[in-house]
């Protein structure tokens, strides 16, 4: 009985992932191409043109320094965007009901959407990584740190997108958070600079930005250096995943935003 239930749940979970993957591929002009073009422009302008005048940061070329940050920025925005648009779209178009009437438990529905968001974040992040290698010779210091930081960060922002979509009642509300909260935090999260370049007070303020820890942990995987304590960085990422997953399941169980 337990085995057949587990098998059924696996089928349901994988069905959501297949559907999300097909959606990502079907609208590739919205999901894969734009972030790749944007990242390429960043590499050309900040890396090649302006970067040459900046010189070295933390003992690395500016291009090498910003590459991990740009990859992580892509992972963050795409993981978030995929879940918020897919889940809100399903809610708005009412086809979310296909899932809500099914016997799939809420935690599994959530896991399916999160996996879909991570899939897009990591897929586009991989494409941008390939682009980065076209512009610079990027060292790989700790593969485990690269993979774990990317996985945890994409999970955090996929969960963020899900919670945003649960509360959203119109399309404005799914663009508000990415525009006014996510983008500033990402740009101020050490993507383009090391926090050691900031005055003391700004360094202190920056430490309240969780994205700084994610970018730094990911950069450590490539360059072997970090602006922050890595134990704290992983603690924040794992803590955020646990807290946000619990919150999202609680909201789903209550029916917030999806049931009358």
């Amino acid at each position: 009985m337990g085995g057949s239930r587990a098998r059924a749940e696996w089928v349901g979970f994988s069905t959501i992932i297949i559907r999300e993957f097909n959606r990502i591929v079907r609208i590739w002009g919205q999901t894969i191409v734009p972030p790749t073009v944007t990242a390429t422009l960043y590499f050309v302008i900040f890396g090649s043109l302006i970067g040459k005048r900046i010189g070295q940061v933390g003992g690395y070329d500016y291009m090498q320094f910003i590459a991990p940050g740009l990859i992580m920025m892509t992972v963050i925005t795409n993981s978030y965007a995929n879940v918020v648009s897919s889940f809100f779209g399903a809610k708005f178009g009412k086809h979310l009901e296909e899932l809500l009437v099914s016997p799939m438990p809420n935690w599994l529905i959530l896991s399916g959407y999160i996996a879909g968001g991570m899939l897009r974040g990591l897929l586009v992040g991989s494409v941008v990584t390939v682009v980065a290698f076209l512009f610079t010779r990027l060292p790989v210091a700790h593969v485990f740190a690269i993979l774990s930081a990317a996985l945890l960060t994409s999970m955090v922002f996929a969960l963020g997108g899900f919670i945003n979509a649960l509360f959203a009642t119109n399309f404005d509300q799914i663009s508000w958070f990415p525009t006014f909260v996510l983008a500033p935090l990402t740009y101020l999260g050490g993507v383009f600079y090391s926090t050691t370049m900031l005055p003391g007070w700004a360094q202190t303020v920056s430490k309240a930005n969780p994205i700084l820890y994610m970018v730094s942990a990911f950069r450590y995987g490539f360059l072997g250096t970090s602006d922050v304590d890595l134990r704290l960085a992983y603690g924040i990422m794992v803590g955020a995943v646990v807290a946000m997953f619990t919150l999202a399941v609680t909201l789903l169980n209550r029916g917030t935003g999806i049931r009358e």
């Binding site: 089928v11 009412k94 009901e97 799939m104």
Partner: protein, 311 residues
């Protein structure tokens, strides 16, 4: 075994509207059951609660003996639902929609593909399986929702106005399809505004008004309660006033259309005999409305008046 049992089910929406005021209802396994009521009576709220799209305020819902508060997943796996509004992804193909739906119920993909072929063929949609859903006609979209609801072969199929906006030919073919499914053992609960549909298909009926069940019986017994019928006679000659036929109430709808109310026990022969005696010839005759429709209007009217007077 009861396919569905509702006990003291209530629902009060956030805006204070009491949609359900203590519904007690049982639907036996294998039944073809009509749930009727005017707009806003609470039919869709009941379906929403049973399919877990709406949170109940209080009460108990059991599906084949499984309490939805305790065995939610098992109860949900027994139900297939065809909602009133289109609720599939308009940008996906028919085949993808039905195969994915089976996946959400844990049906392996290989089996889901076989069932997709079976049900899309039975509902005459197989030729359009690769079409995007939004390109379908209204009738095809309704049939797609039926095919989708059947993919996990539910024991209880709930249809919320499945033939709304569908032409009569397709409606009748859908009736035939639903009859077959019911004969194969699937319990069906139907809400519809086409009362002819309910009269033709359903063995038992409940009428809901203002969040309460006001009638619950077999279709035969419910129809037996109807004491009179109105017949519409198309006349060969124009009349200025309705002819007096002792024992019958007559009215003129227009100068060539006579309406005659016939009570239980009276015969149509009496009408024709008297009309013939008066030299009035009748070209054709029909029922003014179908019987269930007439009873429905009366029951709902009585219930509404009782609510106003507080009786």
């Amino acid at each position: 075994m009861q396919a569905l049992a509702l006990r003291q089910l209530t629902k009060t929406y956030k805006n204070g509207i009491k949609a359900l005021k203590g519904i007690d209802l049982e639907v036996a396994e294998g039944d073809f059951f009509a749930l009727l009521g005017p707009n806003g009576a609470g039919k869709t709220t009941i379906i929403g609660i049973v399919t877990s799209l709406v949170n109940k305020t209080s009460g108990i819902v059991e599906v084949f003996g499984h309490d939805m508060d305790k065995e939610l997943e098992v109860a949900k796996s027994c139900i297939g639902v065809v909602p009133q509004e289109m609720n599939f992804n308009m940008f996906e193909s028919l085949f993808t929609i039905v195969v994915n739906q089976a996946g959400f119920y844990g049906i392996p993909r290989s089996l889901a593909k076989q069932r997709a072929e079976k049900y899309l063929k039975q509902l005459s949609l197989w030729d359009r399986r690769n079409s995007i859903a939004r390109s379908l006609s209204g009738g095809m979209k309704r049939r797609l929702m039926i095919a989708r609801a059947l993919m996990h072969e539910p024991r209880l199929l709930i249809l919320d106005e499945p033939t709304a906006g569908v032409d009569i030919e397709i409606r009748r073919s859908m009736w035939e399809f639903l009859r077959n499914i019911n004969e194969q053992g699937t319990t069906i609960i139907l809400t519809t505004h086409y009362l002819e549909e309910a009269e033709n298909l359903c063995r038992n009926v409940a009428i809901i008004e203002g969040g309460r069940i006001i009638e619950r019986d077999s279709m035969v017994k419910v129809l037996r309660k109807l004491q009179t019928e109105i017949f519409v006679l198309n006349l060969n000659e124009s009349l200025a006033e309705p002819p007096e036929i002792p024992g019958f109430r007559t009215t003129l709808a227009d100068d060539r259309t006579l309406e005659v109310e016939v009570s239980k026990g009276q015969t149509l022969n009496d009408i024709f005999a008297q009309l013939t005696a008066k030299g009035i010839r009748v070209n054709s005759m029909r029922n003014k409305v179908n019987r269930l429709e007439e009873l429905f209007i009366r029951l709902v009217d009585v219930s509404a008046r009782a609510a106003v007077t507080g009786t």
